[in-house]
């Protein structure tokens, strides 16, 4: 027994030894060659069952593989593939093949053969489909290799007759993506192959238009579209087949067929096709337009959306067909009935206003001939009428969009679709309403609104959605109206709007400004009424602070710019108000030439003469100032501070006067201020005084260095339109500031350790500067950096104390860097419109709970505001909160302009007295090199994002808000 036990012990012991022995080389392998292939191999060999193997593969696929080891991994995978009996594991391996061949830096041509070979032995359709999918990936990774392509195409042809839809679908996809665009010229290119691969891809794909499986039919259509996208010219024969598929039973087929028909209509717009069951012929694009229009009343809404969208881009269609899309015949008991549109138009023409009073004014009129009534939409008839009345708002939206595109290219169509678009202003879904307002604005150059239409349009001004109202204001800015009644109506409604939603003030004023300047002759007869002047009596002077009165004045003054007779109608106080408004709302009130009045206002005369010429002269002035500054040789030159001071002042004033150049002038001024600060800091006598005595002065210098640093961040991130050159200059200033800080630190602090580390850090900064701006270095001649780089070998070898000394002398000797201005430079600005900060009523809320504060601000020249703009709330006790607005809170009303409408939530413990909090906007920045941060594999990255500085720049004024948290009552 004992012997037996002993034997077992030995047995087990020996087993253990064996296992460790086996694993040892595996470990060694991993150490010597850190490739994933080895690890994978071990894992796969260890797998006892297929589920285990699948598990290993799944975990394996989550990790990236280096380009060098891909091939090895693939070999191992394939080896295992042939051994594996379970199809799910083979499927995973097949998908991994595709995934791996996408590895950047790896060229999959070495595994093509192996991948293709796997196909021959595969029985499972799913795995086969996956393999083809991977081959597709491999093929698209090798666009330059026609031989591989030919082979893959051949493989696809061979498997096209597979019985599984999945395999056929993939084959078609492969053909679509890799099919040869033109047949190779030389038939003798390679011996046995040409028969299959040379066949016409299009005819082969189109054979599958009639496949029994809808998914294959869809794939065939998609493959054909893919060919088109890759630049192959699709044969016209396909057209008939595609048209037949429009009546397929399956929606995805119909949807793809719509696209196909569209593509062909764009390729062969002018070919002639016969109309079946008649001997007439029409242009292909018209025929296609009719057929796609028909799809607008399809059973599936996806197809309807597709069809409606597509219609918009068929601009070559004949006007006759285009106008049919708006055809609408109504009838009641077989009698012709007029549409509401027609009735409105008639009323308008007959001069009668207001409708609907009479019972049965929509009573049907003449009898219709039953033969002429078209019940089912045939061809283009009424396509948009259907689309706009569709039950799904997605379809309606698409139809509106298409209408817009077509109307923009055809003024006559624009005129016709006006009624329909105006109708859409009353859609039940806000998106559609908004969309149709935008569309109307886009085509507004073609149209003039009738009174009844304007009436409908203006009714929307009362909408509670701010977006809708603002879109409408925007629309009114561009609208032409026909009569003076229209102007009156518009003004009335806008004033009503102003009354109901006082926050719309600026938008309404702007709208009236354009309305006035567009229709001076229509405004003229209204002036006495608008200004309530009377020929004999003096009327009371209206309240100047009334927004409604200001609105009226804006309208009148803008009309008066191009109507010189108008000022004669003004009363005395109007002139006074003009002067006031011209000053306070100069962006809304234009300069007027007022007869019999002296041009007292200096501002006016400047502005009257201002044109493009003054911009040029200002530009010249700016350049001259910069040139003058550039004469300063180095930072210690005498008289330099005075010159800089003067120039800064000039530039600041220039920015105020000339808004076009505000950005550039501001930029220059800030830059020069940095230089000035540096200069002053270095000029101080303190550098010659011994250390203990200079503590006080040190503080001012430290502050200056810090300020330069801050300003440099502002320069970099607050201005848009900077080129690499300017960025280099800014970084250079920052480097100078850092050098200054280092010197100061060396003088005040005594810890050598901290000095060493900050010296190292500085050297790193210099290196990174060199790396980043290698191309800019030649422009930085005679600068601090250039000198520094010359001394770099010496610097990095010597002791910190010496380093500081070298730095000090270089810094003091280096010259002033020239600033070159880029073409366009804009400063990011933000204006908080709301809260206004004028309210004396505190916002009361129970302490501990939250209160929402509405914020409305416009941002100009801010790039990517969704990520960079933050709201800061400062409480009186010094607490500050930074709030990140939602991306959806940003709208983009114009180029370089954003609008932030958001709510910030405030909360605080109880106060005894209402107090003011401050709200402002911040611009967040991070100066990291974005390329390095692209890889998120944080564990692997060795450099922890070097030189990343994150911070915020306040770029709007403070707005004060009264709040009053009350203690909760118990």
């Amino acid at each position: 027994m004992a012997a037996h036990l002993k034997k077992r012990v030995y047995e087990e012991f020996s087993k253990v030894v064996q296992v460790t022995h086996e694993e040892a080389p595996a470990k060694k392998l991993r150490l010597s060659k850190p490739s994933k292939s080895a690890a994978l191999h071990v894992d796969l060999c260890k797998a006892s069952s297929s589920t285990d193997a699948l598990q290993y593969l799944l975990t394996f696929s989550r990790k990236p593989v280096e380009a060098e080891s891909v091939e090895g991994v693939v070999r191992i995978l394939l080896e295992h593939y042939y051994k594996e009996t379970d199809s799910s594991v083979r499927l995973k391996i097949a998908s991994l093949l595709g995934l791996l061949s996408k590895t950047p830096g790896f060229s999959p041509d070495c595994i093509v053969d192996d991948a293709i070979n796997t196909l021959s032995s595969e029985k499972s359709h799913q795995v086969l489909a996956q393999l083809l999918d991977s081959l597709l990936v491999i093929g698209s990774q090798l666009p330059e290799s026609p031989a591989v392509r030919l082979r893959l195409i051949e493989v696809a042809y061979k498997n096209l007759s597979d019985s599984s839809f999945g395999v056929r679908t993939k084959c078609l996809q492969l053909l679509g993506c890799l099919g040869l665009l033109e047949a190779p010229l030389g038939k003798d290119s390679d011996g046995p192959g040409p028969s299959l691969a040379m066949r016409d891809v299009q005819s082969i794909i189109s054979d599958y238009f009639g496949d029994q499986d809808p998914r294959v039919r869809t794939a065939a259509l998609k493959a054909m579209l893919q060919l088109h996208e890759r630049g192959m010219k699709i044969h016209q024969i396909i057209y008939d087949q595609a048209c037949r598929l429009l009546s397929d039973d399956y929606e995805q087929v119909r949807s793809a067929a719509v696209q196909m028909v569209w593509v062909l209509s764009q390729l062969y717009p002018e070919s002639i096709v016969p109309i079946p069951s008649s001997n007439e012929e029409i242009r292909l694009v018209d025929d296609a337009f009719g057929k796609i229009s028909h799809m607008v009343s399809d059973g599936s809404w996806m197809v309807r959306v597709q069809a409606a969208k597509t219609l918009g881009s068929m601009l070559q269609v004949s006007p006759h067909f285009l106008e049919q899309t708006l055809d609408k015949k109504l009838m009641s008991d077989l009698r012709r009935k007029r549409t509401a549109h027609e009735r409105a138009k008639e009323l308008f023409a007959s001069g009668e206003f207001s409708s609907g009073r009479k019972w049965a004014d929509d009573a049907p009129k003449e009898k219709l001939d039953t033969n002429t009534v078209n019940l089912i939409a045939s061809g283009a008839c009424g396509a948009f009428v259907h689309g706009l009345e569709d039950e799904m708002f997605e379809v309606r939206n698409a139809a509106v969009e298409a209408l817009c595109q077509l109307a923009r290219s055809s003024p006559s169509f624009a005129e016709k679709c006006l009624d329909f678009l105006v109708d859409m202003f009353n859609d039940e879904i806000e998106e559609v309403r908004l969309q149709s307002i935008h569309v109307l604005r886009q085509i507004s150059t073609h149209i003039t609104l009738r009174e009844d239409q304007l009436d409908t349009v203006l009714a929307v001004l009362e909408d509670s959605s701010r977006d809708i109202r603002e879109a409408l204001h925007e629309l009114l800015c561009f609208t032409n109206v026909s009569t003076k009644e229209c102007i009156q109506l518009a003004l009335l409604e806008l004033l009503k709007n102003l009354n109901k939603y006082p926050t719309d003030r600026s938008s309404v004023w702007k709208c009236l400004k354009f309305l006035g300047s567009r229709h001076p002759t229509l405004v003229l007869p209204l002036v006495p009424e608008l200004l309530s002047t009377h020929p004999y009596f003096d009327t009371p002077e209206p309240d100047m602070d009334d927004p409604a009165y200001i609105a009226v004045l804006v309208l009148v003054f803008n009309a008066a710019t191009s109507c010189p007779t108008m000022p004669a109608l003004f009363s005395d106080h109007t002139f006074r108000h003009y002067a006031y408004l011209r000053d306070s709302l100069s962006h809304l009130v234009p300069p007027l030439r007022l007869p019999g009045r002296k041009q007292v206002y200096g501002l006016d005369s400047v502005d009257c003469g201002s044109g493009s010429g003054s911009v040029e002269s200002a530009q010249l002035f700016l350049q001259q100032s910069l040139n003058r500054v550039s004469t300063i040789q180095n930072l210690e030159a005498a008289g330099a501070p005075e010159l800089l001071d003067l120039t800064i002042r000039d530039l600041q004033r220039l920015g105020e006067l000339q808004t076009e150049l505000a950005g550039a002038a501001d930029f220059c001024a800030t830059f020069l201020r940095c230089q000035l600060l540096l200069m002053k800091a270095l000029q101080e006598k303190l550098w010659n005084i011994s250390v203990p005595l200079i503590l006080k002065q040190n503080i001012t210098v430290t502050a200056a260095a810090q300020q330069v640093l801050d300003e440099s961040y502002k320069l970099e991130f607050l201005y848009s339109g900077l080129e690499n050159r300017q960025v280099a200059t800014i970084h250079h200033v920052r480097l100078q500031a850092k050098a200054l800080q280092l010197i100061l630190a060396a003088r005040t602090r005594h810890g050598l350790d901290s000095l060493i580390s900050s010296c190292e850090k500085f050297l790193q900064d210099v290196e990174s500067f060199q790396r980043l701006f290698l191309t800019e270095l030649p422009h930085l001649q005679d600068s601090f950096v250039e000198k520094l780089l010359e001394l770099l070998p010496r610097l990095s070898s010597c002791k910190p104390v010496e380093q500081v000394k070298i730095l000090q002398t270089t810094l003091r000797q280096s010259g002033l860097l020239q600033l070159r201005l880029p073409e366009q430079i804009h400063r990011a600005t933000a204006t908080i419109i709301e809260p206004t900060g004028e309210s004396d009523n505190p916002l009361r809320f129970t302490s501990g709970l939250v209160v929402a504060l509405d914020i409305d601000a416009t941002l100009e020249h801010v790039q990517d505001p969704q990520n960079s703009v933050k709201v800061q709330v400062l409480y009186p006790d010094g607490q500050s909160h930074v709030i990140h607005p939602k991306p959806a809170d940003f709208r983009k009303p114009g180029p370089n302009r954003h609008r932030l409408i958001t709510q910030v939530y405030l909360s605080h413990t109880a106060w005894t007295e209402p107090s003011q909090i401050e709200v402002r906007l911040l611009l967040a920045y991070s100066s990291s090199c974005s390329s390095r941060l692209g890889w998120t594999d944080a564990m692997d990255s060795l450099h922890p994002a070097e030189g990343t500085v994150e911070g915020t720049i306040p770029f709007s004024k403070h707005v004060k808000v009264f709040i009053m948290p009350k203690p909760a009552r118990r």
Binding site: Q212, T339, E391, A459, S464
Partner: protein, 598 residues
Amino acid sequence: NMPEINVTPLGAGQDVGRSCILVSIGGKNIMLDCGMHMGYNDDRRFPDFSYITQNGRLTDFLDCVIISHFHLDHCGALPYMSEMVGYDGPIYMTHPTKAICPILLEDFRKITVDKKGETNFFTSQMIKDCMKKVVPLNLHQTVQVDDELEIKAYYAGHVLGAAMVHIKVGSESVVYTVSVNKYAKSHISAWIDKCRPDILISESTYATTIRDSKRCRERDFLKKVHETIERGGKVLIPVFALGRAQELCILLETFWERMNLKAPIYFSTGLTEKANHYYKLFITWTNQKIRKTFVQRNMFEFKHIKAFDRSYADNPGPMVVFATPGMLHAGQSLQIFKKWAGNEKNMVIMPGYCVQGTIGHKILNGQRKLEMEGRATLDVKLQVEYMSFSAHADAKGIMQLIRMAEPRNMLLVHGEAVKMEFLKGKIEQEFSIDCYMPANGETATVTTNPSVPVDISLNLLKREMALGGPLPDPKKPRTMHGTLIMKENSLKLVSSEQALKELGLNEHQLRFTCRVQLQDPHSDPDTLHRIYTHLKSVLKGYTIQHLPDGTVMVESIVIKVSSSAEDTNAKVLLLSWSYQGGEYFFTALCIVKRLMYQ
């Protein structure tokens, strides 16, 4: 004798009202709707059930009853039929219909019995008993009535819970639909898949009408209400309790929300409140907009619309009131009308049709002085507006539905004969399908061409597929060999071997032999060899063997030569072939004959 589907309208055949259509399909009898006629108070009020059976109960003759929606002209005769005539089978209707139908039936009963004093009418208990027989339907749910008959409900427009029904027996099918509301965008929407039924039975009330877009009408309506409210006037909207009223409520509610209006909207109490409750419950049965906003709140939980109290009518300031009944002939709407009629700032909007003789009809025709009871006259100063909202489909909607479902035949009911005639012509012209419009009691017969499903064994299919070409080409039919076994109502196609095995039969070899007499001087083996070599040269690609026992085999054909004892030149050629080898035989025979007569 082809199978046929018979459709007989008991009501609504070339007529409007009391919908009741009998369908017999594949041996099943189905009743579609069981409505009453509003225009009659006598026996003509209900469908003539004696058409089905003279005496006794209907249960034996009907397999099921399907109700499309809750309007009384579609369900009003239901308690009468099930409880008084007698029917115990299943009655199918959608959930909302089941909920609302008894309310309307009870209301109808109250008016007839309590107000008009009729006797011999169904009682409340009967309505309850009747509703117990109801089986509720879900949308797109296929319900198996029995082994063969299945029904499936689709969403129809019209009113809450209205359904199209797809009835299917075997491969024959019928779709029945009330007016589908495709174009008029109300709070309800419809869709059907391409089910290609044998018959599509559709209502055709508005067969000769093409309507303007709903949006225009809505805008007019809203504009009028808005203007009056801004003037400080009051708006009265007389409505019927169900359907229209809810639609208008939603419309006003959203408009109030959109325009940020504050004036109160009231809704007269009573029936409508209950109905609103059901609309709230069945929110999923409504349109996209309502369903979408449901995430935030239930649209039917009106925010601006409150219940009306009699005293509110005298409140100052603007307001909107919905009040029943719709034709201003009695009740709350009339009371309010009397109070408000004197002020020209106010407005009354009639949203529907008014019967002659009612006040509604009078004012719509411009009458400004009304005689009230007690010889008092009422000056009508308020503005009178008319607004047509109808939930019925127009001609385009019906055509659209035909396009969607692609039926083989069309059958029109619930409409006037003249109008149907027009639509019928149009349908036949556009779709080139037959269209029927039977009158009440008349039977329309449609013969169908049903496909007979046959089970095929997988092995046989695979074998046949392997024989010819890689893929079956859908354009070209292909013949295949197999044995059709008909057994206990099922058909099976199997290979002959399997058939033999299943039936327990032995396989019989069938061989045919043909004798060909010919003159040939050579010896038997020589002749045979000549034949062999010749065949070999002519028939390439066939297996031809010269067997040692003196025969030649061409595939399965055996050729043997024997000479008679008396005349060695007169040879007899024996050709023997099995039943399967028939095709080759004639080729082989021709070749041999040609050789011999050379």
